[in-house]
């Protein structure tokens, strides 16, 4: 499941759905990204996607993750539109036979989503709006996967 949504969501409900009826999966890892309130100083985030294209590009990386880590299944839900402080932005779940693969795939997918996925991000702060580029840390996080060997 790879889906964009304009509405807040409950990560727990997504995990319940994702884990239901699994018989051969030993490990499920999830990640939920939330917009921090920064003690009231947080900007409102606006995330723009290219509907169809964005899901397809994420789908290609998801397929890479599925093969690379031997995943049984995965789910990605990503917010678009205006996101208020405290609201969830992204949910990723991975299912695998063993925990190392589930963790690494979840980590890998988040590094991709945070640095290269087809989103354009605007911050609406007190000083006006500005477009955001990925941070150096985001690029460094993603680059970890370019050369690293994956544990079996």
């Amino acid at each position: 499941m790879i889906r964009l949504t304009e509405h807040p969501f409950d990560a727990g409900a997504l995990l319940s759905e994702f884990s239901a009826g699994r018989r051969e999966t030993g490990a499920i890892a999830t990640f939920t990204g939330l917009a921090r309130a920064e003690q009231g100083a947080a900007a409102v985030l606006e995330l723009e996607a290219y509907p169809g294209f964005t899901e397809a590009q994420i789908g290609r990386i998801a397929e890479t993750a599925r093969l690379r880590f031997g995943l049984h299944d995965l789910a990605i839900l990503h917010r678009v539109g205006r996101i208020q402080p405290g609201e969830p932005i992204v949910f990723v779940a991975t299912a695998a036979g063993h925990r190392r693969a589930a963790f690494e795939a979840c980590d890998f997918l988040m590094d991709y989503l945070k640095s290269r996925a087809p989103f354009w991000k605007k911050e609406h702060g007190p000083a006006g709006a500005r477009w955001i580029e990925p941070t150096a840390q985001d690029h460094a996080d993603r680059a970890r996967w370019d050369h690293e060997e994956t544990a079996p």
Binding site: G33, Y50, K114, S115, A117, W120, K121, P134
Partner: protein, 79 residues
């Protein structure tokens, strides 16, 4: 003729998000945009701007049909 889509800062710069533009190739679309808004055309040729034709990334020039969708994608910021 194609449906041209702009995203992110390109949309803010142009003042529009979607428009029909005359031209049988991506190069012709760029020329048509340049005639009307040279600053935008320059930005569309800027570093890191990718082009998607009918939702597939293309490099360089390509023919576009009347029903084609051409999107100019500035550097993606991630979610």
């Amino acid at each position: 003729m194609a449906r041209v889509l702009l995203f992110g800062p390109l949309r803010d710069l142009a003042g529009w998000r979607e428009r029909q533009v005359e031209g049988g190739s991506i190069a012709a679309l760029r020329a048509a945009i340049s005639a009307e808004d040279p600053e935008l055309a320059l930005a569309l040729a800027g570093p890191g701007v990718q082009v998607a034709l009918d939702q597939a990334l293309v490099r360089g020039d390509a023919a576009v049909g009347a029903a084609s969708e051409v999107a100019f994608l500035p550097p993606m910021s991630g979610g």
